[in-house]
């Protein structure tokens, strides 16, 4: 187990290193000049030059990279070209994304698993078709389309929920949750199909497996077969799917965060890309990568802890 985690961590580090290089050199191709982007088109060239010098963006690409990565490794994310500290931008954004992701997960995971299992138990019937096809369709309708439709219905027509996600400062817990409901609901639509499909496939596979037959032939009631024998095997792959969705939730929600004016990490990335704010871009991408890798690693660990085949290895 320790060996497995160690190996995964090492691979993860390589991936992150590659990622930092890709983003860095990729961002060099982004058009425009950093100082110019900050100061705007009408600033004098002298002012732009001075700012570039101050930001260090006039140095060689390699030395910029090295000083940035050096800082990153010491936990110093540096300063945004806008002068704010990068951790001051990325940190809160990450927290916000995490809050939204968490709420979405709390709603969607039980719902989708229940839906998927229900569909599997009714395989081929109308309810199964409805859940499977409906879920898949909801999944592939772009998130911002959901956002627009939900705002229209719930915020503007019925008027029960706020149209933006950012609760006023000092708002209590429940108010904050209230503000997050609509965006979370969009994510529920988008994620439901994924997770339900996985849960359904896993359950069908487990239902068809010989051991379920063994249990039935033992004389176990169907319900017990499902709950005692099927689910513990069928829900394992679902964990991995939920984990990969973390990648989408933390960083991929550019459109939704835009519509709901939510300063999550997706927004931070979007803005950084547009403004060529390299320190923010690089750190945010790396952090998104870290979150993704950690989530998948945790899922793998959870998977192996829950799965005796991996937990104990084969000893014979």
């Amino acid at each position: 187990m320790a060996r497995f985690i160690g190996k995964r961590l090492a691979l993860g580090l390589i991936t992150l290193f590659l990622l930092s290089i890709f983003v860095f050199f990729g961002s060099q191709v982004l058009p425009g000049d950093v100082g110019r982007r900050v100061l705007g088109p009408f600033a004098t060239p002298g002012a732009v030059k001075a700012l570039n010098h101050q930001l260090g963006t006039d140095r060689s690409v390699i030395s910029q990279y090295l000083s940035w990565i050096g800082g990153f490794l010491h936990g110093d994310l540096g300063k945004s070209v806008t002068g704010q500290s990068v951790s001051g931008i990325v940190g809160p954004a990450l927290l916000k994304s995490a809050a939204l992701a968490l709420l979405a997960f709390i709603i969607v995971v039980p719902l989708a698993i229940a839906g998927g299992v229900f569909a599997a138990l009714h395989e081929g019937r109308l309810s199964d078709r409805f859940i499977s096809v409906g879920g898949l369709s909801a999944t592939s309708v772009p998130d911002f389309v959901w956002a627009v439709l939900l705002i229209l219905v719930f915020a503007l027509w019925i008027g029960v929920l706020p149209a933006t996600a950012q609760a006023p400062p000092g708002a209590g817990f429940f108010t904050q949750v209230e503000y997050l409901i609509l965006p979370a609901l969009c994510l529920v639509f988008v994620l439901f199909g994924y997770i339900a499909r996985m849960a359904r496939a896993g359950t069908i596979e487990a239902l068809d497996a010989d051991y379920s037959r063994t249990a039935l032939i033992k004389g176990l009631p169907y319900r017990s077969v499902v709950f005692k024998h099927v689910l513990r095997n069928s829900l394992l792959p679902t964990i991995a799917v939920v984990a990969t969705q973390v990648g989408y939730l933390i960083g991929g929600l550019v459109a939704i965060e835009l519509v709901f004016n939510y300063q999550g990490i997706g927004q931070a990335l979007f803005r950084a890309a547009q403004q060529k704010d390299f320190p923010v871009l690089e750190s945010a991408v790396l952090i998104v990568g870290i979150v993704y890798l950690v989530a998948t690693l945790l899922a793998d660990i959870a998977y192996s802890v829950l799965n005796p085949r991996i937990r104990y290895g084969s000893e014979t």
Partner: protein, 703 residues
């Protein structure tokens, strides 16, 4: 059945047969159409009786077994007839009643023990669950589960209780399944090919166990197998199923000795029995194929393939009217209009052996291996799959290679072929010229000369290619043919493997297993090879098809003078085709010699054990030698003689300390054992005494 709750013991139950099927009809819905699978199947199993069901793959054996539990796949239904289980009419029962019945009265064990157990629940809990279902409290359930595991001769049951299925070997898992099945002390135990995936040595052990427990519990058995030998060993009576219809039924001995249905007759003729060899007799086969699922068969279900019908010219009767079950006395019955003449069924194949090209024992060996080693590196472990293998293969000769699963047979084949790179220092020579260890570095000549026929024709043929493309490609790459010469050579080749050229445009999926194997053989012979490795070429096939393929291989050898390295775990088959036999254990050659020298009588303790495990259709058996424990892992081979941990003739410390060399004990006969060959021949006459050093339980060695 008069509404008596199945859990109560009604008076009927005492006398009622354990299982009674009456005119059972089962259908599966495939692509929207209901198709008949079982056609009026009737048989009964008396209390305490063991009933065998045989028939080729797809004839409906498993369906009958599951129907007996009223457990059908979602797309299946019982469309007629009745099922009586211990006097209860299963079909009339509610789901809940059936469930209660399953708890107490009937259990089932099926083929793949690995998948029959829940991978994420501890063995102990899975077994105890049966007791809890019967209403036993938790603690007692656990206790009794442990007791039951002991009864299936599981060493250290307490430890096994805490384990998960993947931590046990296939044989041990099957014993757990059997323990679970017998835990409720059922009146009927259904075993559906319980040993098919297991090694012969393990199979023997499991069958012994079932026999022992059956005696102890007084359980009735429904035993399904395609292996007639196993049926012979296990059953009192048997039924022969064909295309969903029971075509013959009777006492096992009676059916084997006096079969009265042409199908049974043909089936028995297909297997190499009584130590026949290729230069004595050719095997018979059954022409044609099982009719498709749900086919309309107004007459005898076997008519299409029946040689007797053709010989008698009785097409009208046989294809027009369904023969009744003719009672022949003693419970023997056959569904054949001409059952008296069944044994005159004409042979499809003349018994005359195929002519053989003279093989010159003193010629330069076409293939010679020396010091062949292969070490795999797996997650830091070194797995020594082959150690110092050496042998020579004369032109036109067949060398049989036997050994338990994991002994390195396939690895040896792949190493010779260059598919797996041998370790440094290994020597493989073709016609006296050393071969590069990877195929990519071998010359075209050499590549052509060494070919293989794989075990599974499904994966050996590219399923996206037409047969034409598969063979033509081999002709192009191996001997550079193209255009018309290639086409004519292709037709010749198809002809020589008895493959109908009209099917040349088909895809593999449209062909039967036997036909696919013919294509694979044609491909191997495309470049006129000198040596063809056959890695279990018939183990995926039904017996009748196996016979045809074996015949073909023998014929081709006669025509082309090719040498075979023939791998199989079926000792009967190996003995039939081989001139010489090599016995492999943990990557080491234990014995090598002429087929008769090695087998008749066996001398090396391992060979002896292998042979004794085999159940033959003759029923005549040598005393079973129990091989103790599991095969050791190739990653940590035992010290000294690698066989010492399981050897029935274990001598003592010397076996654990010194590895015996492979010695030529008589001309052409090599053996690896500390016991001198003469002594071996003598002690072979009597069963081995229990091993003195085995105070430990047998399974401890495995863990």
């Amino acid at each position: 059945m008069t509404g008596a709750a199945p859990t109560e013991t009604s008076p009927q139950q005492e006398t009622a047969p354990a299982l009674e099927l009456n005119d059972l009809e089962v259908e599966y819905r495939v692509r929207g159409i209901w198709r008949r699978v079982l056609r009026g199947v009737s048989f009964e199993i008396a209390q305490g009786e063991s009933y065998g069901l045989v028939g080729e793959s797809g004839c409906g054996k498993s369906t009958a077994a599951f129907a007996a539990l009223r457990y059908l796949p979602r797309n299946g239904r019982v469309s007629g007839g009745s099922i009586n289980l211990g006097g209860h009419d299963l079909i009339a029962m509610t789901g809940e009643e059936v469930r209660k019945l399953r708890i107490k009265t009937v259990s089932m064990v099926y083929q793949n023990p690995g998948s029959a157990l829940n991978p994420s629940i501890k063995i102990g809990d899975q077994v105890a669950e049966v007791y809890r279902l019967m209403g036993v409290g938790d603690d007692e359930a656990t206790e009794r589960a442990q007791e039951m595991l002991g009864k299936v001769r599981m060493s250290d049951p307490a430890r096994v209780m805490e384990r998960y299925p993947h931590q046990l070997s296939g044989g041990m898992n099957q014993r757990v399944v059997i323990a679970m099945a017998l835990a409720s002390d059922p009146t009927l135990l259904i075993l559906d090919e319980p040993t098919t995936g297991l090694d012969a040595t393990v199979e023997g052990e499991v069958l012994d166990l079932v026999n022992g427990l059956r005696a102890e519990f007084g359980t009735s058995l429904l035993f399904i197998s395609h292996n007639l030998g196993v049926i012979g060993k296990m059953c009192d009576r048997m039924g022969v199923l064909y295309a969903g219809r029971l075509v013959e039924e009777g006492r096992v001995q009676e059916v084997f000795e006096n079969p009265r249905h042409p199908y049974t007759v043909g089936l028995l003729r297909c297997i190499p029995r009584g130590g026949v060899r290729k230069d004595q007799q050719r095997l018979d086969t059954i022409a044609g194929f099982l009719p498709g699922l749900g086919a309309e068969l107004p007459g005898c279900v076997f008519a299409d393939r029946c040689g007797l019908m053709k010989a008698l010219g009785s097409e009208e009767r046989c294809q027009g009217t369904e023969p009744p079950m003719h009672e022949l006395g003693g419970g023997h019955g056959a569904r054949c209009h001409f059952h008296e003449q069944a044994q005159t069924l004409p042979r499809v194949i003349e018994p005359v052996p195929a002519p053989r090209a003279a093989s010159d024992k003193n010629a330069v060996p076409v293939l010679r291996a020396e010091n062949v080693r292969k070490t795999f590196h797996q997650e830091g472990h070194a797995v020594h799959a082959l150690a110092d293998v050496e042998f020579a293969l004369a032109p036109g000769e067949t060398l049989g290679l036997v050994g338990e699963s994991g002994s390195g047979k396939t690895t040896l084949a792949r190493t010779l072929l260059g598919l797996t790179e041998a370790d440094e220092g290994s020597v493989v020579e073709l016609d006296g010229t050393p071969l590069a260890s990877v195929i990519a570095k071998r010359k075209g000549e050499q590549v052509r000369a060494l070919q293989i026929v794989f075990q599974n024709p499904d994966s050996a043929l590219n399923r996206r290619f037409s047969i034409h493309r598969i063979i033509a490609r081999a002709l192009t790459t191996l001997i550079g043919l193209s255009g018309e010469p290639r086409e004519s050579r292709l037709r010749e080749l198809a002809h020589s493997v008895r493959f109908d050229v009209r099917l040349i445009g088909a895809r593999p999926a449209q062909l039967s297993g036997g036909l696919k194997q013919r294509v694979a053989i044609a491909r191997a012979f495309a470049g006129d090879p000198q040596v063809v490795v056959c890695d279990e070429p018939t183990s995926a096939l039904d017996v009748s098809v196996q016979a045809a393929i074996l015949n073909l291989l023998v014929e081709l050898q006669g025509e082309k003078g090719v040498a075979y390295l023939f791998i199989s775990h079926d000792l009967g088959v190996v003995r039939y085709v081989s001139d010489r036999i090599a016995v492999l254990y943990l990557g080491r050659l234990m014995e090598l010699g002429g087929a008769e020298t090695v087998f008749e009588p066996p001398q090396h303790p391992y060979t002896e054990a292998l042979l004794s495990a085999v159940a033959t259709a003759e029923g005549a058996e040598r005393p079973r030698i129990r091989l103790e424990g599991e095969i050791p892992s190739a990653a940590e081979p035992p010290s000294g003689c690698v066989f010492h941990t399981r050897c029935p003739r274990y001598l003592g410390a010397i076996c654990e300390e010194q590895e015996p060399p492979l010695e030529e004990v008589e001309p052409g006969h090599f053996m690896r054992c500390h016991i001198p060959v003469d002594e071996l021949r003598t002690i072979q006459q009597s069963p081995p005494p229990p091993r003195p050093d085995r105070a430990r339980s047998p399974d401890a060695a495995a863990q």
